[in-house]
């Protein structure tokens, strides 16, 4: 195992936990400014948000994650924004009164349904309330879990030589989950991972994109063979999944290796988000990233080395666009020459490859030959 110096030098504090009272008073502060604008200054009220896109993040290799810059967008009350403005105020009021002050939690979908009692101010579709929630989160500089929102999506699955120490809801009784003794199933990462503690002797963590490959590795008990913790992401990792991996690697001081499909989506969306966070939620990336992560495969070079040219698919227009966008705009890719080389090589070859393609050489080739050979070689992408 080659350990990158970079990953070791990174030390990130635990997410700054703000209390419910703090969050509540931040809401009051925002509302107060708006109220003063209207009543005292006689000016149209404004809300200011950090811009949530790749154009407003910077990759800081020292810190190891995307950091939000200070580009702000301003939403001034006008004919066009009056509905969103009204919805924002009602949403903030609901968060403050019903979640924070009453110490309650709610799902994003419940927020959407809750708005149905707001008359003409209601959200028509859930994406509307989701995106407004993201806005509020960014404006208040807190994450939604701290406001009392629980994400709907599942957080990923874990199997391997790991004991997770959790507490029973309500009784707070300590409970030990042995992720090696889960039969044919796996342990699901909960939405709140801050309180978990870990015991493990594993040498590294292997994070896998697809659930089916994860299950095959579990079936063949690859975690025993390689003495690693297996985690499946099922696509772009959720915040909880990223946070869980981060806490685990911080706690156990073991490296993280990522194994995805060999395509621009796997590189630039799945891996990059796991490692340095997303452009969308840049204000909270410092907690939801895994700077220790390294990329194992599948690389374009692997296609050649493992004789997989005839198991590829031609790049689609969207793939090429995504790769070119990343080369041009993604601060992470722009920082790493290795990644630029990978993407350029892929565009040149004009093909992409799936994790399952190794089945060309036999169903077990992937864990009998490919993974051991890569691990032995120990050269990974940053």
């Amino acid at each position: 195992m080659a350990k990158s110096k970079k990953s070791q030098s990174v030390s990130v504090a635990a997410p700054q936990l703000i209390s419910k009272r703090d969050a509540s008073s931040r809401i009051v502060g925002v509302a107060n400014t708006i109220h003063q604008d209207i009543v005292k200054k006689n000016a149209r009220p404004r809300m200011r948000f950090p811009i949530r896109s790749l154009s407003n993040v910077k990759y800081d290799p020292k810190k190891g994650h995307f950091e939000i810059l200070n580009k702000m967008s301003t939403r001034t009350l006008s004919y066009n924004t009056v509905k969103t403005f009204a919805q924002s105020m009602r949403l903030l009021a609901t968060i403050k009164r019903d979640l924070l002050d009453k110490n309650n939690i709610a799902g994003k979908r419940e927020v959407y349904y809750n708005s149905k009692s707001w008359g003409e101010c209601r959200f028509d579709e859930q994406p509307e309330s989701d995106s407004l929630l993201d806005d509020m989160e960014a404006m208040l500089a807190v994450n939604r879990e701290q406001l009392g929102f629980i994400p709907e999506e599942r957080g990923g699955e874990v199997t391997g030589p790991l004991v997770v120490i959790d507490r029973q809801p309500g009784s707070h009784e300590e409970i030990r989950i042995n992720c090696e003794k889960l039969g044919t199933g796996a342990w699901s990462i909960p939405s709140q991972v801050e309180h978990l503690r870990f015991e493990s002797k594993a040498k590294f963590i292997l994070v896998i994109e697809t659930a089916s490959l994860f299950q095959r590795l579990v079936h063949h008990r690859y975690y025993e063979t390689a003495n690693c913790i297996l985690i499946s992401m099922s696509g772009v990792p959720t915040r909880a999944c990223r946070r869980f991996i981060r806490r685990l690697t911080d706690d156990r001081k073991i490296p993280v290796l990522v194994f995805t499909d060999g395509d621009p989506y796997g590189y630039c969306n799945i891996y990059r988000t796991l490692k340095v966070g997303s452009g969308q939620a840049a204000h909270i990336n410092q907690f939801f990233c895994v700077p220790q992560a390294h990329y194992l495969g599948v690389t374009p070079q692997d296609i050649k080395e493992f004789d997989l040219e005839d198991a590829t698919h031609p790049l689609e227009e969207l793939d090429i666009k995504r790769a070119k966008d990343a080369l041009k705009n993604d601060p992470f890719i722009k920082h790493h020459k290795e990644w630029q080389a990978v993407l350029n090589q892929m565009i040149e070859m004009g093909v992409r490859i799936e994790q399952q393609a190794f089945a060309k050489h036999g169903l077990n080739f992937v864990f009998e030959t490919y993974l051991p050979r890569k691990l032995k070689k120990g050269i990974f992408l940053p």
């Binding site: 708006i34 004919y79 105020m89």
Partner: protein, 596 residues
């Protein structure tokens, strides 16, 4: 009429026997057999035509004498398909001797022989109506007339001798009579009756049918009132049945003779309709009068008479004029009988035709007149004088439209005079646009309503064949904000009014229903309509902006209370503070979106 066309290649005997059948056809006979040419093709149209001819005559007479016209139209159903029509005016009256010829001789009148803008043109109309009544009911035309200078009025009953095209006088009395009118106010309440010092009343009974709608007498009179704002018109129709629907049977009874003379008919066959029983002079069981009130008290400008312009004349008429001229030489004939021919122009014409300007006009032979005709058309001449026309005027059109059509936007334009075939003419156009749904008569989903006028006379029939409709269809109304299916009339809650004033309106037939498609006329009409359209589009876009602003205002009003409620809940504000937020925001946003 076949006899006229006898061929020479038949044997002598046949030609002689044919000769026995060959005789003059009187104009009256001709029109009797071709009554559709005069607008009497069906009973419904006959009623309208009779009213129209009489009203046109009354208006022309009043306008020429400088009298503010007061006209009453009284229609009474006397049988299943029989109506008695009485039209009374306050015109100058007609001297006794002229009465029979005017009302019972076709092609007699003052209007045909001169080029002057007037409603009637040929002198056929009213006598044709009398002839039609006589033909269908056997009754005579009854005329009462009083002129200013005589104490007594005349009552004359005439019929037309169709063979000879001559009047037959059946009754000729003197009596005490004054035209009387029964005005009502806007709510239908009777006002003080008006008695005129002079005037004429004509009563004709005829086979006819009455149906309400676009082609009815009602519509005609309404349009009359629109283009003649100085006219005060009183109208009533007394029906024997309640519903003026399409008649099913044709049982023409000749039982009820026509006796009514004045507009105030006897009450024998009063309609069973309920009336408001007004206390004033009307019989209590009568249908009340409707008054189209006068909107302007100034008389329209008097049109002046002009001589024909050489460029508008046909060869045959040229030959006739050369024969009839008072001029001793060709030059003087050209100069004096035509407009816009100077001495120099006359000499130029004569030279071009290879004729001596001093030659006697009556001696110019057929071939020479053809050369003359050609020379006239090749010579450049000044355009005919155009000050002879009397347009309605933009203000009067607007007043008329406002008076009779409920709408939100009115505009009118009077174009400058132009010339077609040597005849001066002038086009006027007006628009009345109602908010969709505001006027039940103007459906936003249906084609626009078109009011066509020629020399201030409404044209109801044959719109499809008229130059006005062609011009309206040709304008691109889409660019003015209306729906306009290709090749048809535009769609919208709108009335389009077009008036053509001319010393000679080129109708497609003697029944004067459609204007012929002269390119000059269509072009002028198009220009007038385009100007109206531009003004309409300004109005429509302003209205759209207002509606948009209203919509935005409502939208804002919908959400501001929620914004304030949110703030109130977060900051624990009280009622007063919440209200302050709403009113302040309201003012701020109103200011900004008004500026936008």
């Amino acid at each position: 009429m076949t006899g006229n066309m006898a061929n020479a290649n038949k044997s002598t005997a046949t030609a002689e026997s044919l000769a026995k059948l060959q005789r003059d056809i009187s104009v009256s006979e001709f029109f009797l057999k071709n009554r559709h040419l005069l607008g009497f093709d069906n009973p419904r149209k006959a009623l309208l035509t009779a009213v129209k001819e009489a009203v046109d005559n009354s208006l022309d007479a009043c306008d020429e004498s400088g009298i503010l016209p007061e006209i009453s139209v009284d229609i009474r159903q006397t049988g299943d398909k029989r109506f008695c029509v009485a039209i009374t005016d306050n015109g100058p009256g007609i001297v006794r001797n002229q009465v029979p010829k005017i009302f019972a001789k076709l092609l007699y009148g003052s209007k045909f022989h001169r080029l002057r803008m007037s409603r009637g043109q040929q002198g056929i109309g009213i006598s044709a109506a009398g002839m039609y009544g006589q033909l269908t009911t056997g009754t005579s035309t009854v005329i009462q007339s009083k002129i200013k200078t005589s104490k007594k009025a005349h009552l004359i009953e005439v019929q037309i001798d169709t063979r000879a095209n001559k009047p037959t006088i059946l009754k000729d009395d003197e009596l005490d009579w004054f035209p009387q009118f029964f005005p009502t106010d806007a709510n239908g309440k009777p006002k003080q009756p008006i008695t005129a010092r002079h005037g004429t009343s004509v009563t004709i009974e005829m086979e006819a049918a009455y149906i309400r709608g676009k082609l009815s007498v009602d519509e005609y009179l309404k349009q009359c009132a629109i283009v003649n704002p100085h006219l005060q018109l009183h109208y009533r129709i007394r029906l024997s049945g309640p519903a003026p629907d399409e008649d099913s049977e044709t049982s023409t009874r000749k039982a009820v003779p026509a006796k009514t003379a004045a507009g105030k008919g006897d009450a024998t066959s009063a309609a069973p309709q309920a009336t408001k029983s007004p206390p004033l002079p009307q019989p209590s069981d009568e249908v009340p009068w409707i008054t189209f009130a006068r909107a302007a008290t100034t008389l329209p400008k008097q049109p002046t008479e002009i001589k024909p312009h050489p460029h508008g004349i046909e060869l045959g008429i040229l030959m006739q004029m050369l024969k009839d001229t008072q001029g001793k030489t060709l030059k003087s004939a050209l100069v004096h009988d035509f407009s816009r021919v100077s001495d120099r122009a006359a000499v130029e014409i004569a030279q071009r035709a290879g004729l001596d300007p001093k030659s006697r006009p009556t001696h110019i032979a057929h071939r020479e007149s053809e050369a003359l005709f050609k020379a006239i058309n090749e010579t450049k001449l000044m355009r005919p004088p155009t000050d002879c026309l009397s347009p309605i005027g933009e203000e009067a059109i607007m007043a008329g439209l406002k008076k009779e059509i409920e709408a939100d936007f009115y505009t009118a334009i009077t174009r400058g005079p132009e010339v077609y075939r040597g005849n001066p003419f002038q086009i006027e156009a007006g628009l009345a646009y109602a908010k969709p749904g505001a006027n039940a008569d103007l459906n936003a989903e249906e084609p626009v309503r078109i009011l066509r006028f020629a020399n201030k006379v409404p044209l109801l029939y044959m719109g499809g064949a008229c130059a006005i409709n062609k011009a309206i269809t040709g304008v691109n109304w889409k660019s003015y904000g209306l729906t306009h299916p290709r090749g048809s009339l535009p769609v919208g809650p709108m009335v389009i009014l077009v008036h053509m004033a001319s010393v000679w309106v080129p109708f497609t037939s003697e029944s004067k229903e459609a204007i012929a498609h002269y390119p000059e006329i269509i072009r002028e009409t198009t220009f007038a309509l385009q100007e109206c359209g531009r003004r309409l589009s300004v109005y429509l876009s302003r209205r759209r902006r207002q509606a948009e602003m209203e919509r935005k205002k409502n939208y804002i009003e919908l959400y501001l209370p929620h914004l304030a409620l949110g703030l109130r809940q977060i900051l624990d504000l009280d009622d007063r503070q919440e209200k302050t937020i709403i009113s302040k925001l309201h003012r701020m946003l109103e200011r900004t979106h008004l500026e936008e």
